[in-house]
């Protein structure tokens, strides 16, 4: 099987469709059409840039370079989470809470997978390490950002309730149990839903990409299952850590809710 090449003009045609969408939306919601346009430009620029970086990293195959690129990706993800939090004032710690949670969960799971399942030579082969880390981070980012947002919202709305529980002598973990449970649930539902819908309602992107690129469907499906399971684990543990650290962050040293 050989791959049909795609030219820049082909991409232009696809972009034209999105431009029409932005235009149609312009009258009802200028802000939305502006957002669509900016997102499209970002997509093209970021992916073109990463193509150059990947070409270089693939050629070098240097473990420090791969690890370093991973760290840059984590930092960008942490920055993204911080920006997506809409409730209350910006807290200096949010970047660190989210970056640390994503770093731990995605690095540990990625390295574990490379060593025990993929077993490439060398184990950190960028062809596997970078896409794997990228997919883990992307999904963990969504989970962490959903959970931190939800946590902020409920801490703000249910402030008097949480304080009432503190007054009765409960510690911050007892007093925020239901808020943390809700945050975890809302963060993991997209992952659970996409696992449940895979193959029936939707064809997962990675598998589809591999098949488009000429891979054997059976192998592509195996890869997809592995990735899904890793994403579920990575998102789950990352979100768990972020919910824990994010809750702690909203109390001061004497376990009082800080003002949001």
């Amino acid at each position: 099987m050989n791959i049909q090449p795609i030219s820049v003009i082909d991409l232009g045609i696809a972009a034209f469709l999105v431009c029409i969408l932005a235009l149609v939306n312009h009258r009802t919601s200028p802000q939305l059409s502006k957002d669509i346009f900016i997102a499209m430009i970002r997509l093209v620029l970021q992916l073109s840039l990463i193509a150059l970086v990947l070409k270089y990293v693939f050629a070098e195959r240097n473990i420090l370079l791969i690890g370093g690129l991973g760290l840059v990706m984590v930092a960008l993800a942490g920055y993204e989470v911080k920006n997506r939090i809409s409730t209350g004032r910006t807290l200096a710690g949010t970047f660190w809470v989210s970056s640390f949670s994503m770093f731990i969960s995605s690095y540990v799971i990625c390295i574990f997978c490379l060593l025990t399942m993929i077993k490439a030579d060398p184990w950190y082969h960028p062809q596997y390490a970078i896409p794997l880390l990228g997919m883990l981070l992307g999904n963990t980012l969504t989970g962490v950002s959903l959970s931190l947002n939800r946590l902020r919202d409920s801490f703000k709305v249910q402030r008097t309730l949480i304080e009432s529980r503190l007054m009765l002598g409960e510690d911050i973990w007892q007093a925020t149990l239901s808020q943390r449970r809700e945050a975890m649930t809302s963060a993991l539902i997209p992952t659970i839903n996409s696992m449940a819908a895979a193959g029936i309602v939707s064809l997962p992107g990675m598998m589809t990409g591999q098949i488009l690129a000429g891979a054997d469907p059976e192998l592509a499906v195996r890869y997809q299952i592995m990735i899904f399971l890793l994403i579920a684990a990575g998102t789950g543990f990352g979100t768990y850590l972020a919910t824990y650290l994010g809750s702690k962050q909203l109390f001061d040293d004497r376990e009082r809710l800080i003002s949001l």
């Binding site: 009432s164 009765l168 002598g169 409960e170 004497r254």
Partner: protein
């Protein structure tokens, strides 16, 4: 040694407060709205950042875990919150019918969905919930605000009995002069950014008779 000691406690807008509470005393706290009464209770429960020190049985608040301190020095706010379906689930040891009876409540109300209860019933159940967690000091912020006269007297009698046992004390914010007279051993009032303390003439006269 006093049961509870406030040493140079500073909360806006009140200047440094130094005061003490002995075991089995009821302190009634008065002052115009905005004078800082509620904030004072929040500071004593360590729920408000403050300067100065609060000690219970000679132990400073900062030497205990915040949750331990608040279990011993428990604040009951005027607005009671519930987070489970029924009142019963909020209790470690649900109260007996006999105990409920003292506050004109019954077992059915304990198992009723919270939303079906009246404000007054919820306030009395909130008091029982706090006492159920075995505090040493109760800080009451208008504990009878939603109650009719009969139930107000029931709560007062219940709290008098409670405070007379063991090492216990109450600091109680109230706007009702009759209630202050009925309950107070000492009256604390916040006037012009300072706390003054006096004995309750009415009650001590009665005791002399």
């Amino acid at each position: 040694m006093s049961l509870l000691m406030l040493h140079d406690l500073c909360i806006e807008p009140v200047k440094a407060i130094t005061a003490k509470v002995e075991a089995q005393q009821v302190i009634m706290l008065m002052g115009s709205s905005g004078s800082g009464k509620s904030r004072l209770l929040y500071a004593i429960a360590d729920l408000l950042p403050h300067q100065g020190e609060v000690k219970l049985e000679n132990q400073a608040a900062t030497t205990l875990a915040p949750s331990q301190w608040r279990q011993k020095v428990m604040l009951l706010p005027s607005q009671i919150e519930w987070w489970y379906e029924t009142a019963e689930e909020h209790f470690f040891n649900p109260p007996t019918a006999k105990e409920l009876q003292k506050l004109n409540l019954c077992l059915e109300q304990l198992k009723e969905p919270i939303v079906n209860l009246s404000t007054g019933q919820k306030q009395r159940l909130g008091l029982l919930r706090a006492i159920n967690r075995n505090p040493t000091i109760l800080l009451l912020d208008e504990a009878t605000a939603n109650l009719d006269h009969e139930n107000t007297l029931a709560v007062e009698a219940y709290l008098k009995e409670w405070v007379s046992q063991e090492n216990r004390a109450i600091i109680w914010i109230s706007h009702l002069p009759e209630q202050v007279e009925r309950m107070a051993d000492y009256i604390w009032s916040i006037n012009e950014q300072a706390l003054t303390c006096r004995t309750n003439q009415e009650k001590s006269n009665k005791q002399l008779l």
